[in-house]
């Protein structure tokens, strides 16, 4: 399996898109921190960009890459290799490449500008989101044979997680405005890794005071060690569940 990962990583690097992505992140990070005079505001801007760009690039790039590797997958499937190894290797290669791109492009400069718990959390979040959206892309790509449909599906999924889900949350908030739903909202955020990550990082920043009563309730939960561990575990689930489900599908897929 390690060998396949090696070939996939080499192939992704040859692809150059990941290098462009790294350079792009680097450019953005450097310009954000040099334009903003205080790092706290820089961090907030970075958070917004991170929540927007990282999932988008991860899911779209991965989906396209998987479709473009169909020959490679076919070639490997006829070889004495477990299907599971092939699929997990592709996952590891993509996740590794995108996480590394994020760390190199955004993480390292962020640490150079501000060495704090928040930077570490931001890096952790970036890596997590990269991996989660690779995992979701694997599921989207295995579900349909048609490349255009698959890419369409992953764009929709991205739109869902970064926009539509929040729209639904807003709708629910107004529908149930007369009920104490703050606590239930904690559960709802677990259904979207982007929201979960955003709230985790925001609560660590000073701006959490702006979040008033709701923020206080969230802080009570996410501020504790238990809350952080639980969120981490939920993030891991967001990696594992789509991946395992896609693996099951791949194992039974006719090539």
């Amino acid at each position: 399996m390690r060998k396949i990962v090696k070939y996939i990583l080499l192939d992704i690097l040859k692809n150059k898109i990941v290098l462009v992505y790294t350079a792009f992140l680097l450019l953005i990070t450097l310009s954000v921190f040099s334009l903003e005079d205080n790092t706290q505001k820089g961090m907030l801007t970075m958070l917004n960009l991170e929540l927007f760009i990282v999932p988008l690039v991860s899911i779209i790039f991965s989906t396209i890459y998987i479709y473009n590797s169909s020959e490679f997958i076919e070639l490997l499937v006829s070889q004495p290799i477990r299907r599971r190894s092939i699929w997990l290797s592709i996952f590891s290669g993509l996740a590794g490449a995108l996480a590394l791109a994020f760390i190199a492009g955004s993480g390292v400069p962020m640490l150079l500008f501000e060495r704090s718990v928040i930077s570490m959390m931001m890096i952790g979040l970036g890596v997590m989101l990269s991996v989660i959206f690779v995992s979701i892309a694997m599921l989207a790509a295995v579900t349909t044979r048609d490349k255009a449909k698959g890419i369409g599906m992953s764009i929709l999924l991205w739109l869902y997680f970064s926009l539509i889900f929040d729209g639904i949350v807003l709708f629910l908030l107004f529908q149930f405005a007369d009920y104490p739903i703050e606590k239930a909202m904690i559960g709802v955020t677990a259904l979207n890794p982007i929201d979960l990550g955003r709230i985790l990082v925001l609560l660590k920043m000073d701006v959490s005071a702006l979040m008033g009563y709701t923020g206080a309730i969230f802080k009570d939960f996410f501020g504790t060690q238990k809350g952080v561990l639980l969120s981490f575990f939920v993030m891991l689930l967001w990696i594992a569940l789509p991946l395992l489900y896609s693996l099951r599908k791949f194992n039974h897929k006719d090539l």
């Binding site: 703050e182 005071a209 979040m211 009563y213």
Partner: protein, 413 residues
């Protein structure tokens, strides 16, 4: 009597006081070992000089108009049981003492120095440490509280009194004091015609300045920093607030200033920096706000619909998360000629005034006002999108809450 006969008498009267005003010295090596002794033998308008040392005076009651001077900061220790000094005469000067460890009680307001119903009291250059209340004036008139440092370190509001506490007083001058760690840094209730100038009030448990039912007062050039709930100015009129700095009052219910039921007042040249809300105003009317700066606050200005006739001109709004928040659609206030860093308009005629109006209330801030839990969507993509679309097509934000003449460059202050 003719005037000639009267003249020598008048002369004697005029010079008698200084001639008879004595200096008494209290100290370890002096004849008088404690201040209470000295007070007994002192005549009105005498000066008592207190040498360095620690004095356990229990409750020192000053019942004659005298000047009490500390030399090298002698300590008057209240042993956590007594009120250190009670001023019960007019024309008293207390200068250069370290006053510490007053009693703490939930029934009596023990203070480091208390003025009761007197006038012309000067309290200057003292250092008050760990007092329940610091300097306490009730019914004080024309008192000067100048250049004192007050420091307390209680953690609970109930265990802590106010730094400089004035109640039903008039013509007070509170200048150059530094207050920290008290419940409220400076407390004004029913105080009129007074000046609060150049004080620093920071890290107090509740308010840096707590100001109620006090009319015709001015506070200027003070710094209020990092207080539990910022500054509250309530139920007063004709208050002038000039060139104060309100900064880093950060927390769930903290404000730069909370203005409540204020009328006919002026707020000019103040700086509001990094507060959760720069100003929160409720029931405020006829207030002019000029040349204030709002930097990096959560909300620059939260203005409830109960406010009216507020003129907001030539202020700078820079780097606030939300410039203005409001809870209603009715706007009876005037926003004009302010600088807003979020303004994205243009100035074709180069008159340094933007050609299209600026709407300082974002749609998302309206949403939060209606539905506070929506704050969980803070900084999510959808809120950005909402604000963008609202800018193009306003629907939810108040129609006439806008600045028709937004400045292109910050106001020079």
């Amino acid at each position: 009597m003719t005037i000639k006969k009267l003249l020598p008498l008048l002369l004697i009267a005029a010079f008698a006081a200084p001639a008879t005003a004595r200096q008494l010295t209290v100290g370890k090596n002096a004849a008088l070992k404690n201040i209470a002794q000295a007070l007994v033998i002192a005549a009105p308008y005498d000066t008592i000089i207190v040498q360095q040392g620690i004095y356990h005076e229990h409750n020192l009651v000053i019942d004659k108009p005298i000047t009490l001077l500390g030399k090298d900061m002698p300590v008057i220790d209240g042993e956590h049981k007594y009120e250190n000094i009670s001023v019960k005469a007019d024309d008293v000067v207390i200068k250069g003492f370290k006053v510490c460890n007053s009693g703490i009680s939930s029934i009596t307001d023990y203070a480091g120095i208390k003025i009761c119903n007197r006038h012309n009291i000067t309290i200057e250059g003292n250092y008050l440490e760990n007092c329940f209340f610091g300097i306490y004036s009730q019914y004080g008139i024309r008192c000067t509280i100048r250049n004192n440092t007050l420091k307390a370190s209680q953690k609970e509001e109930q265990q802590s009194g106010n730094g400089i506490h004035c109640w039903k007083s008039d013509s007070m001058q509170i200048t150059g004091n530094t207050v920290s760690g008290h419940r409220d840094g400076i407390y004004f209730e029913f105080v009129t015609n007074s000046l609060i100038w150049k004080n620093r009030s920071f890290r107090n448990l509740r308010y840096g300045l707590h100001f109620m039912f006090s009319n015709n007062d001015t506070y200027a050039s003070n710094i209020f920093e990092n207080n539990g709930a910022g500054v509250a100015v309530m139920f007063s009129n004709h208050v002038r607030m000039f060139r104060n700095t309100f900064r880093e009052n950060w927390g769930d219910a903290a404000y730069g200033i909370l203005l409540k039921e204020i009328s006919d007042s002026r707020i000019e040249g103040n700086v509001f920096k990094k507060n959760t809300s720069g100003i929160f105003m409720e029931g405020v009317s006829r207030v002019e706000m000029h040349k204030n700066s709002f930097y990096g606050n959560g909300w620059g200005l939260k203005i409830q619909a109960s406010c009216m006739d507020i003129k907001l001109n030539n202020n700078n709004f820079i780097g606030n998360t939300f410039d203005v928040g409001t809870n209603g659609s009715l706007v009876l206030n005037n926003f004009d000629h302010n600088y807003w860093d979020k303004y994205e308009g243009y100035d074709l005629d180069k008159n340094k005034i933007g050609d299209i109006p600026y709407r300082p209330v974002s749609m998302y801030s309206m949403v939060i006002e209606k539905n506070p839990p929506a704050m969980i969507l803070f900084r999510s993509f959808i809120t950005t999108l909402m604000d963008r679309s609202e800018k193009v097509l306003p629907s939810l934000t108040p129609e006439n809450l806008k600045d028709d003449h937004p400045l292109m460059k910050p106001v020079q202050l």
